[in-house]
Amino acid sequence: MPDIQDVTILLVEDDPGHTRLIEKNLRRANIKNEIAFATNGQEALDYLFCEGGYANNKHASHVLVLLDLNMPVLDGYQVLERMKKDERTKRIPVVILTTTDDTREVARCYELGCNVYVTKPVDYEQFCEAIRKLGLFLLVVTLPDGAGG
């Protein structure tokens, strides 16, 4: 069982503003883990499978993915689908973090195998609160062995 501090958080988000806000608020929530960034779905998969631009990287020992849905190249659904189909990545926890709160899309993500679905509130106070709670949640998460491929 890995120590939560050893887990790398992969933040997949195409909007740089959101990326910064999420990162800031996670740090304020006392998350000290290493955070890796991907600006679209393809980059995320490359990171996870050490392919493309990440071909020479070493596999992170343990990963947790914060995944946006609406992104160029490959969207969040496609990333989720591929991760859950692949033996190497199917046990990696995925937190969907997106602006969409449509019930059908929430349902679809759970069907595809996401672990948590968090909507980004437009109101910033609520946004900060949501990320803070997510940080607290991450602190207590237990990851399965080998969740990093």
Binding site: D15, G17, H18, K24, N70, T99, D102, D123, Y124, F127
Partner: protein, 666 residues
């Protein structure tokens, strides 16, 4: 009965001899006459016994001379003839006058009958006393037979004339009726008395009289009969009758013309029927030649026997080219097979086939679409003799239908795109909003950090700069941030509204039977606090059940009712009335208030998104009625609004009474 006897008298023998010789010669002469005439000569005594007769009589009676001598007339006649003969003889006896024509029948020895005509006179002795009768008997049996034959023949012709349906007339050379049969006067409506002797000008118009005269004149001149000539006659009541007549010249024995005989047939009705038939035929021909559809007739082999102009035009062949042409020439194999199959079916079932889609190839090779109806053509006996049908060129319609289908598909697509667009836009717009809100907050807290450390920097600035910095820090920047924050909030609420509208257009509807009374009651109850506080009266009439999505109906009623409450006129007690009327497939609801009303120029904004009409003194985004309209449209319903400023507003919406399988997408 002068049987001469020798009488002895004492006179000069020479003289006597001479006289005897003279008498003998005279007697010889009479005897010879009697024996040679073909008529019978007889003498009777007063009892009717034959006393003398010649051979001709013997021959007629069929008895021998000996048998006949002294035979009484009772013996060779039946009772009827005995009566007739005795009466006649009595008359001769009593009057002394001869009778030149007593006719009677005798029965000969062999039983056959003969007709005789006797001339009888009284026979007297020298003293003048009647002693018997003498007379000439003629055998008239043959003449009687001829007379009878003639009578029968005449009767036959007369009865023929009477029973034939045609008129038979004879006119003299002056044109007057001399003989007619019954049919003649019936035909023109005259009585027999009126008609006989009538001149032809009385039953023709002057114009026709002239024509008739010409006909008769020609017959007279040429001696040739005029056969089956048609002309018009005028009946007694003035109606025109059409006659078909055959007339020939009548001549006397020596061959001189004495008049005309005519057989006339009334063909008025036949002519009328022919005319009706001709008109009917003309009508159909006109229709067939003028319709925009092609008309054809085929024989049983499928070859054209008749075509109208339009079908020639459709196919691009001339009429001459088309007659006898088989469908294989203007149809490809598939369509020819389809046509043959259809024709076969019509032949076998006797039932027509309608609206069969066909592809045809014109003479110029272009392809047209046609819609063909075919039925079986039969002869008078009901035997199939071919096919007839209508072929409609539906090429343009087909094209239009295709076009329409494409348009519909495009519309569907673009409709879908618009819905998706609204959805996507409203989501994607949130992304920058999060940043705007987020970084404004970040900026505000950064400003707080700066502000709290600002005092330490103050001594290093002069008064002017100090106050400028303080102005920027405490007033300008917070004010700018405030505006940005408010604008972002407003934009956020707009986006949320669009998102809701987009979702209403996408969400699944679950139509179910709804008791609208209960639904409206619940809606009113949720507003009861507000209604009591403001003294608003809500009257709900008897509402029917409808088939609709429950949530949608709750939203529709909720929005309309809260709108009505929101825009009441505070100067009078509020009153809201909900009524409904089911009319067939639809139910119409009316929600009437006595509120402030909507100005005519604002009416177009009522159902538009983000538009609010009238005084803006109540909170809201102006989306309520836009949602209502979207929901009702998705239910196949519609909404309208009637309003008068200062009086009140009525919202009228309809919805399907019964549940249809699926509500259509708005």
């Amino acid at each position: 009965m002068a049987q001469s006897k020798p009488i002895a008298q004492g006179i000069d023998i020479t003289e006597r001899k001479q006289a005897e010789e003279t008498r003998r010669k005279s007697e010889e002469k009479y005897r010879s006459i009697l024996e040679n005439i073909t008529e019978g000569y007889f003498e009777n005594d007063l009892h009717g016994n034959l006393t003398f007769f010649n051979d001709s009589l013997v021959e007629v009676y069929g008895y021998t001379r000996d048998e006949l001598m002294q035979m009484n007339y009772h013996q060779y006649m039946d009772e009827e003839n005995v009566q007739k003969v005795s009466q006649a003889y009595n008359k001769v006896y009593t009057t002394g006058e001869p009778d030149g024509g007593i006719q009677f029948e005798i029965i000969r020895k062999d039983g056959t009958r003969r007709c005789l005509e006797n001339s009888v006179s009284l026979m007297r002795d020298a003293a003048g006393h009647p002693v018997g009768f003498r007379g000439i008997s003629r055998d008239v049996t043959k003449r009687k037979q001829i007379e009878e034959t003639l009578r029968l023949s005449e009767e036959r012709y007369r009865s023929i004339l009477d029973i034939i349906g045609d008129a038979y007339t004879e006119i003299d050379l002056a044109g007057n009726m001399t003989f007619i049969n019954k049919e003649s006067f019936k035909f023109l409506g005259y009585s027999e008395a009126e008609f006989v002797g009538m001149g032809y000008k009385n039953y023709t118009t002057p114009e026709n009289a002239k024509k008739l005269f010409e006909i008769y004149n020609r017959i007279y001149r040429t001696g040739e009969p005029a056969r089956l000539v048609e002309y018009e006659l005028t009946a007694k009541d003035g109606t025109a009758k059409i006659a078909e007549a055959t007339t020939e010249l009548m001549r006397d024995k020596s061959g001189n013309p004495i008049g005309f005989r005519t057989i006339t047939r009334d063909i008025t009705q036949k002519k009328q029927m022919e005319e009706a038939l001709r008109q009917s035929e003309e009508r159909y021909r006109t229709i067939i030649e003028n319709i925009q559809d092609g008309y054809f007739e085929d024989d049983l082999a499928g070859k054209f026997t008749f075509v109208n102009d339009m079908i020639c035009k459709h196919l691009g062949y001339s009429r001459e080219e088309m007659i006898g042409m088989s469908n294989r020439l203007f149809q490809d194999e598939i369509n020819a097979q389809k046509a043959n199959q259809a024709f076969k079916e019509v032949y076998e079932t006797g039932e027509p086939i309608k609206a069969l889609d066909m592809e045809i190839i014109r003479k110029d090779g272009t392809i047209r679409f046609s819609e063909v109806s075919v039925s079986l053509m039969r002869d008078a006996q009901g035997k199939p003799i071919g096919f007839r049908g209508i072929s409609r060129d539906v090429t343009e319609r087909k094209k239009a239908e295709e076009q329409l289908k494409r348009y519909a598909a495009e519309l569907e697509r673009s409709n879908e795109e618009v819905k998706n667009f609204a959805y996507i836009v409203s989501h994607d717009l949130r992304v920058p909003l999060v940043n705007l809100k987020g970084y404004t907050s970040e900026l505000r807290s950064a400003l707080g950090v700066i502000g709290s450390n600002f005092d330490a920097a103050l001594p290093h600035l002069n008064d002017e700069k100090r106050s400028a910095v303080a102005m920027a820090l405490h007033e300008d920047v917070p004010e700018a941030l405030e505006f940005i924050t408010n604008s972002v909030s407003r934009m956020d609420s707009f986006i949320n509204a669009i998102l809701i509208l987009a979702r209403l257009g996408r969400q699944d509807l679950k139509p179910e039977p709804i008791d609208m009374n209960a639904l409206v009651k619940t809606t009113v109850e949720t507003m009861s606090h507000q209604l009591q506080e403001r003294g608003i009266e809500v009257i709900v009439g008897a509402l029917p059940h409808v088939a609709a999505d429950r949530t949608s109906m709750e939203q529709v009623m909720g929005n309309i009712l809260s709108n009505a409450v929101k825009y009441l006129d505070s100067s009078r007690p509020g009153r809201i009335e909900v009524t409904a009327q089911a009319n067939g497939a639809e139910t119409t609801f009316r929600i009437r208030d006595n509120g402030r009303g909507i100005a005519a120029e604002d009416m177009h904004k009522v159902f538009a998104p983000f538009r609010r009409a009238g005084k803006q003194d109540t909170p809201g985004e102006g989306m309520g009625l836009a949602y209502v309209q979207t929901l009702l449209r998705r239910h196949g319903g519609r909404i309208s609004c009637e309003s008068e400023l200062g009086k009140g507003t009525t919202f009228i919406f309809t919805i399907a009474t019964r549940s249809e399988k699926g509500a259509r997408d708005a």
